[in-house]
Symmetry: C2
Subunit: 348 residues, 2 copies
Amino acid sequence: MTRDIPPYDPLPRSTVRAGARPTARHLAERLGVATSTITRAFDEHSRISEKLRQRILALADEMGYQPSAIARSLNRRRTGIIALVMGDMANPFYPAVLEEFSLQLRRTGRQVLLFVVPPGGDADQLMPQVLQYQVDAIVVTAAKLSSPMSNLCGRQGVPVVFMNRRVGDPTVWSVCCDNECMGAAVAEYLVGQNRRHCAFVSGDLDVSTTTDRLRGFERGLAAHGQRLIACVQGGYTYAGAREAASRLFGTGQAKIDAVFCANDVMALGVLSHLRLNTSLRVPQDVAVVGFDDIRDAAYPENSLTTVRQPVREMIECAIGLLDEGRPGGSVAQALREVPGRLVLRSTA
Amino acid sequence: MTRDIPPYDPLPRSTVRAGARPTARHLAERLGVATSTITRAFDEHSRISEKLRQRILALADEMGYQPSAIARSLNRRRTGIIALVMGDMANPFYPAVLEEFSLQLRRTGRQVLLFVVPPGGDADQLMPQVLQYQVDAIVVTAAKLSSPMSNLCGRQGVPVVFMNRRVGDPTVWSVCCDNECMGAAVAEYLVGQNRRHCAFVSGDLDVSTTTDRLRGFERGLAAHGQRLIACVQGGYTYAGAREAASRLFGTGQAKIDAVFCANDVMALGVLSHLRLNTSLRVPQDVAVVGFDDIRDAAYPENSLTTVRQPVREMIECAIGLLDEGRPGGSVAQALREVPGRLVLRSTA
DNA sequence: AGCCTTCGTGCAATCGTGTGCACACATGGG
DNA sequence: CCCATGTGTGCACACGATTGCACGAAGGCT
C-alpha cells in the first residue's frame, strides 16, 4: 500500500443523512469501495467479483438504494422515456392503445411520458416541453403535429412515429391499419349483402385515417358499378354522429340501406339514432358498419359489425420503428400498414 | 484584461457537432459568455441585462436550444415528473381521470409518467422503476399498493396519493368522493320512489370504494326500516355485471325492484341484461343506479341515473396534496372527501 | 523463474445545468 | 474625493451515475 495519498479526502464530508435518498456514494462509504464499483454491481455485463456484487446488492436492498435513472440518463444520453402525445381520450380506442403501449414498452424497460392534447388543441405547443425531457422518441396519435415541429424533432435526433395517421413527410414514420383495403372490403361485403344505397360518416376530412377509409370504400363500390349516395361529417364523436344520422335519415332523403362509419364511436351514435328516432330496423332495413372494434362494439346490445384494428401488432410495429431511428427513404418507405380484419356481428 | 490566463483552455475542444442537440455550452461559445449566463437568460429571477438576455434567447431559438430538463432535475433534485399508476383502463372513468390529471399538471409545468398496471396485476412490481425516475410524487388509482411499498416511498421522501380509494395508512393521502354519503343518498332516493326490494352489485369487497358505497347504502335503507335484499359481485366489469344480473333476476328469486351498482360500467351491464334477457321494464319494474357518471351514462339509449364523481375537483385536491408532502396526522386527517351529486335520468 | 493474459478495482473525467461566491464596474451620497 | 451600494458576469463546484484507462494481483504457460 505505497500508493500516493491524495492531499485531501476524496469523500470529504460524510454524506449519510437520514430522510434523503441513498446514493451510490452512501453505499460506497459503508463498504469502503469506489462508487464505480457500485455501478458495476448493477450492470449485468460489468466485470465484478460475484461475492462483492452480492454484498453490494444486499446492502442496496437494505438501504432502499436504486440507481437514479435521471443521473444515468444524463450520462448515457438516453433516458428510456418515450413521449406519447395523444388526443381524443374520449374515444375508447385510444385508452386501449395507451394501455397496450405502456405494457409493451415496459417489457423493454422503457417508460411512457404522457402528453394529452386538449380537445381542439394542437400538439405543437407541447413539443418544447416534450423535447426538454430528452425523450428517446415521440409517438403521436389522434393529434396534429405541424411539419416545422416534426423537423425540429428531426434536428434534435428524436424519431417521430405517427400511429393511426399517415403524413406526407418522409422524415417521420407512420403506422396504420391498411385503411384503404379495409374500406374496400367493407364495400365488397355490403354489396354482397345486396346493399345498394351506401353512405359514409366521416371524421375530419383532412385526416388520412378518414380519407383512406373513404377512398377504399368508394373504390370498392365502384368495382361493382355503385357510387356513394351520401357522405356526412360526424366529427369522430358520438353526438356528432347522431346529428349526422339525423341528416342522413331525415325526411325527403334518398333511401339509404347501409352506413359505413369512420370509427366505432360514430357507428354507435348512428345505431342510437336509428333505434331511438326512427322505425328502421338494423340490419334488415339499414346496415351499420364501424371501424376499430372497441370493446363496446362487442357488447350484445350493440353487436356492431366493424373492422378490427390490430392494436397489438400496430404497436409492436411502432416500437420496432422507434429503435430504427428516423426513416431514410421515401414517403412510401416511411409508412407501415398492418392488415385489419372485418368482424361480422349483427348490424350488417 | 490582466486576468490570469488559466493553464488550459476551459472549453478545450469545440463542441459544436451537427446532428446533436445544442447545449448551453454551444451557445456560450458562440456568444463568448459563460454557460452560467445562458442559464440565467432562461431564469425569470436571475440578474442579467435585458439586452444580453434577448441576444441569448434569439440565438437559442435559432439553434433550437432548450435547457435539458434531465440535467436540471439532477441539479435541483426535483424532476417535475409525477408518476400516475393506474389499473382498469377498460373503465372509461379512468381515462377521463387521466386526461384531466395530465391537463391540470401541465398547467403547473409538470409531466405525467404513466404506469399501467396490467389487469389482475399489482402495482408493487412497478415501484422500483417508478422510484428510479426520481418522480416528485406518486398518484395511485384503481390499483393496489402494499403497505411496505408505500413505506419505501415514504423513506425516500416521495408523497403518495390514492385517488378514488381509501387506505388505512396515515402516511399516504387518499382522495375520494364522499362514497358513504352518496350511497345513503341513493338509498334515500330509491325508498322515496317506493322501492322496497333493493340489491347491490359490488366490485371487489376488499376495496374501500365499493365497501363505503355499500355501507352508506345499507345505512340509508336502515334509516327507513329496510334491508338489502341481495348483494352480488360484479367484479367492476360489464360482463361480470351481466352475469351478476342474471343471478339476481334468475328464476325463483325474490322480486327485486332496484339495483344500485358500484360503478357505471356495471350498471350498464345490468341494464343490458334486463333489456335483452328479461321482460322487466326500467324504471317501472326495476330501477338501476350507477356510480361515476361516465360519458356513456348520459347517452340517450342509456340515460342512466347515477352519482356524479366530481373528477375535476378531486384532481385539484390531489394535486394540492402533492405539494404538501406527506400527511402528518391520523388516518382521518390523511383523507379528503369531495362531495358527489346524484344525477337523475331515466333509469330510476 | 519470467512473461503474458485475465481479473477486479480505483481514479478521474464526463454528461448539462444550477448556484454561491468573487470581482469589475457604475452610481450616488456625504 | 472617498466609500457604500448595486449590477452584471465569470468561476468553480455540485448533482449522481457511467466509463475508459491504469494498475496490482493472480494464474497459466514455456
